[in-house]
């Protein structure tokens, strides 16, 4: 029976999104979205608990056997990613209840939520599918809907941001497609497992390596790995709050998931070790950490600051992958989860600030932390997680990352991680300083109608979502069983495929 549940993850948003698009009422569209995200959350939980012991759930779409048909092969990594995506979707949905009516044009409610559901559909699809072309299609479904979502931001810069994201994202996707084409030309198959098992028969072909490089470039663009991150700060900085929350926590993560799949399941590890890829990734990761943190520190606008910090956090994940040992990969996979939680929380904080003040410029928020102590406290908590203070989720990942690096004797990585943390202190402190310690000045409030009471109080649903996120940062920093066991089981599975011929 559980096999049928897996496909429901994709089918439910697929069926409900077109219905949602027809409605103009905010309430109805929201309820439909809530149903979709809640169902996905429950389903991914069930699936994850099914496969966490290392088993698989296999689903053949349309009853066609692989490698002819499309096959969904769910192991703990798939299920874990699906869980992250749907959990963040739930949080964003809660947040959307009061945030969307304020930020989105009232004629577009239905379309907005439909696009959100489609984006969720695409991301879940990527997480589940075992067919690499099908993966491309889902990648594009999620990307296209995210371009549309980002363009719904309030300032006109959202449009240009969405446009450049569209250009770069499409180039990335096309590169990926070219790579898949080369691989297909060599292997004659599109099924990841099938390609992997027969890899040795065509490993020597030039096509395979060319395809590999194209796939890597494409995914690097989609995952915003340094130095291919240039679209990210603008896109997340100008998107509507809900979209920033959802995408920052999931979109790049899912692309990184694909990267992990390609590196560990599609291509044998020895193959790309010979290409010096671990070293390259390691350097990119380290530079990304420092560069991203440094640029974050330079920013004067909260959402852009957070976006640059995402670039740095992606660097940590890449470092973990490139370490190629159990601790490193555990850290990476856990950081997918932890960073999703942290960044969602921080963007929710930024969203509340935006909701109440219509600005996220740090200079215009001077001293505003005192007027919203609880929101501010949640932001600080998530900020501490970003730094990696013990007791928060950030610490756990950094811990495993460090122990992975130390085990390999890569001291340069240790230095990079510590430098990144120090810079993280600097940019988190910058937020705190601006919002709290700088003396309050007359707020410049823009675009507020007379009688608008938004400034008075953070709405309940927004605060609720924010504090769920903040509590998550703390809870999963103390009780790490769920992410740790999943990550552990994933790391074991990924590294064991390396040993297998």
């Amino acid at each position: 029976m559980n096999e049928q549940l897996t496909i429901l993850l994709v089918v439910v948003p697929l069926m409900i999104a077109p219905i949602t698009a027809l409605f103009k009422s905010h309430t109805i569209s929201w309820i439909l979205t809530a149903i979709v995200s809640l169902t996905s959350l429950i389903l991914s939980f069930i699936i994850l608990f099914d496969v966490i012991d290392g088993s698989h759930v296999i689903y053949e779409l349309g009853g066609w056997r692989p490698p002819w048909g499309i096959e969904y092969k769910i192991d703990s990594l798939n299920a874990f990613i699906a869980l992250i995506v749907s959990a963040i979707a739930c949080l964003s949905t809660i947040f959307a209840w009061q945030s969307v009516p304020k930020e989105i044009n009232e004629n577009n409610y239905g379309l907005f939520y439909a696009a959100l559901q489609l984006c969720l559909l695409g991301l879940l699809g990527i997480a589940l599918t075992g067919d690499i072309f099908n993966l491309f299609v889902f990648l594009e479904i999620s990307s296209l809907s995210s371009y549309a979502l980002i363009s719904m931001g309030r300032s006109r810069k959202a449009l240009t941001a969405a446009f450049s994201y569209l250009i770069l994202g499409t180039i990335g996707a096309t590169f990926f497609l070219i790579g898949v084409g080369f691989l297909y030309a060599a292997s004659g198959s599109l099924n990841i497992a099938d390609i992997a098992t027969r890899f040795s028969t065509f490993a020597d072909m030039q096509l395979v390596m060319t395809g590999f490089i194209f796939i890597l470039l494409g995914l690097g663009l989609k995952a915003a790995i340094f130095p291919m991150h240039s679209w990210l700060p603008n896109a997340y900085g100008h998107a509507p709050s809900v979209v920033s929350i959802f995408l920052s926590a999931t979109a790049t993560k899912v692309s990184i998931y694909v990267l992990i799949r390609v590196l560990f399941d599609l291509y044998p590890v020895a193959y790309w070790q010979a290409l010096l890829l671990p070293q390259i990734l390691l350097v990119l990761g380290c530079v990304g950490v420092i560069y991203g943190s440094f640029r974050a520190w330079q920013q004067v606008e909260l959402k852009r600051l957070l976006a640059f910090s995402s670039v740095a956090q992606i660097g940590y994940i890449i470092i973990g992958i490139s370490l190629l040992n159990n601790d490193g990969i555990t850290a990476s996979v856990m950081h997918l989860f932890n960073h999703a939680l942290i960044k969602a929380t921080l963007f929710m904080g930024a969203g509340i600030i935006l909701y109440r003040t219509n600005t996220t410029k740090l200079s215009e928020l001077r001293g505003f932390g005192g007027s919203m102590p609880w929101t501010f406290a949640a932001i600080v908590l998530a900020g501490l997680s970003l730094i990696g203070v013990p007791g928060t989720v950030g610490f756990v990942t950094k811990w495993y990352l460090l122990s992975g690096a130390i085990a390999q004797g890569k001291w340069i990585v240790v230095v990079a991680i510590l430098a990144g943390s120090v810079l993280a202190i600097a940019y988190v402190w910058k937020i705190v300083e601006a919002m709290y310690f700088n003396s309050k000045r007359k707020m410049v409030i823009q675009n507020v109608k007379i009688g608008d009471i938004n400034l008075a109080k953070a709405p309940f649903s927004l605060s609720l979502a924010l504090w769920i996120g903040a509590a998550g940062c703390l809870y999963f920093g103390l009780y790490t069983e769920l992410p740790y066991q999943s990550a552990q089981s994933i790391a074991t599975a990924l590294l064991s495929s390396e040993v297998a011929p």
Partner: protein
């Protein structure tokens, strides 16, 4: 018969529960303060119970969470921790009584927030005291910083915020920059962080690593106020006096030296440190701090700031004692945590009482005030004498052990004489900058102060408690001596 573990849990939960109740009682100030007092008394009672049942100590332990395998947040009943818990909870009672008088007389705003966070901070202190390992200690060390921050900036003025900024920046910054990496390093070397009576590093770490590691701890645990990261303490004096009194003479600063002593004794082990010789270099930190802070205190006219620098100087006595790493010195360090706490809190109480009744902050304004506030200045005098270490007051004993510990220090002759010189010099300076205050108050005359105008009654009661304890401790220091003895491994 309730297992001791539950009592241990109760020690941490009681203040939290109290905080919860207090925060709901905004409309009923009388009940609110009653709850504070009751909570404080219950907590003290729990600690006394734990003290009486210390024999079964090994069984009282529990784990809250284990985020990383081998790194648990767990608590254990231990003698040294219990000493700290006893001091903090006992003085919480005194402070609560005092605060009732002070806060009302001073018409402070947001008193509910004040009492709530105070209780939360105490919960943090309990957690620090009963930490089973360095990881737990670190987490609650940070927790203490964050939870006391709103207390420091209680006034909400620009000045308060500026002080608070320094407070949080120095305390959190150093702990993350130095303390945390040092802790990770220790774990990497020893594969554990559990406090063990002979230290955990011996045999795991090369001797050459002791110096940088210990240096990182000294810099990282800036709550101990060792120079150069001491500025947060004077900055924190913008807080209301009860906060300065309990948190910055007892809870927070003592959490700092407590952590440092724990690290020195239970992570490194005194023998290991002596063997490495690292302390011969690091001793200069407390020595310089003791002398310099005394000198700075001398130059401060603001009473609370002068007390703050005096605290910095006194804290370094404890650090000095730990770093001397001889048996007597370590016992002295442990005892000084207690003795200084009672003496200094009395001084702060008196300073607050002066502020709230006479609205004077400067030492130079105190001339002749002893006529108007004889009780307050008596308390002040007793506190001063205890801190200087004059017989008849508890403070004498810790200095006694510290000195005899210093006399037993045989590693380095230059250092030996320097330590003795510094201790003597600072005692003399103590006499000068602290004792001059009651002298001014009692022996100078000032026509403004002829009628007796004492502080509010609650303040006086609060002040009386530590004063009497100071006197009592001279005659019977055995409680704290016994608890400090655990530091020597016996």
């Amino acid at each position: 018969m309730i297992p001791l573990t539950y009592w241990l849990m109760a020690a941490m939960l009681t203040p939290l529960l109290g905080a919860l109740v207090i925060s709901r009682l905004d409309k009923f100030p009388d009940y609110r303060e009653a709850v504070t007092l009751v909570t404080a008394s219950i907590l003290f009672g729990i600690n006394v119970y734990l003290f009486n049942h210390l024999d079964a100590a090994s069984s009282a332990q529990f784990t809250l969470a284990e985020p990383i395998e081998g790194l648990a947040i767990s608590f254990v009943l231990n003698q040294f921790g219990l000493m700290f818990a006893l001091i903090a909870s006992g003085l919480w009672i005194a402070t609560s009584i005092y605060a009732i008088g002070y806060m009302r007389a001073h018409h402070e705003k947001n008193q509910t927030r004040f009492f709530t966070l105070f209780a939360v901070a105490i919960a943090g202190v309990m957690a620090v005291a009963f930490s089973e390992n360095l990881f737990t200690l670190f987490i609650f060390y940070e927790f203490l910083t964050v939870s006391t921050y709103p207390l420091v900036t209680h006034a909400g003025t620009r000045e308060a915020k500026r002080g608070g900024r320094k407070y949080i920046l120095i305390l959190m910054g150093t702990s993350i920059l130095f303390f945390l990496p040092a802790m990770i390093w220790v774990y990497y070397l020893a594969d554990t962080l559990t406090f063990t009576s002979d230290g955990i590093l011996a045999g795991h770490a090369d001797l050459k690593w002791v110096l940088p590691l210990l240096l990182m701890f000294i810099l990282g645990i800036s709550k101990a106020g060792v120079m150069p990261f001491h500025k947060w303490l004077p900055a924190a004096m913008v807080a209301p006096t009860p906060v300065s009194a309990l948190l910055h003479a007892v809870a927070v600063v003592k959490a700092g030296v407590f952590s440092l002593v724990k690290v020195v004794v239970f992570i490194f082990g005194t023998d290991f440190i002596t063997e490495s010789g690292a302390n011969q270099i690091l001793l200069w930190f407390p020595i310089i701090t003791i002398v310099l802070a005394s000198l700075i205190a001398l130059s401060k006219d603001n009473l609370k700031e002068r007390l703050a620098y005096s605290t910095i100087s006194q804290l370094s006595y404890i650090v000095l004692g730990a770093l001397l790493a001889t048996q007597q010195a370590v016992i002295g360090a442990g005892m000084h945590i207690a003795m200084h706490a009672f003496g200094k809190i009395a001084l702060f109480f008196a300073a607050g009482a002066i502020l709230v009744t006479m609205h004077k902050k400067l030492v130079s304004d105190l001339n002749g005030m002893g006529r108007a506030m004889p009780l307050t200045f008596t308390v002040f005098t007793i506190g001063t004498l205890s801190i200087i270490g004059i017989p008849l007051f508890g403070g004498m004993w810790s200095k006694w052990y510290l000195l005899s510990g210093a006399l037993g220090f045989a590693q380095n002759a230059v250092l030996y004489w320097t330590v003795l010189g510094a201790l003597t010099l600072s005692t003399l300076l103590n006499v000068y900058y602290l004792l001059s205050i009651p002298v001014r108050a009692f022996f100078f005359t000032n026509p403004n102060y002829t009628v007796i105008k004492e502080a509010p009654k609650a303040c006086l009661i609060g002040m009386a408690i530590p004063t009497f304890v100071t006197l009592y401790l001279f005659f019977d220091p055995s409680i704290f001596y016994g608890l400090s003895l655990s530091l020597t491994g016996s």
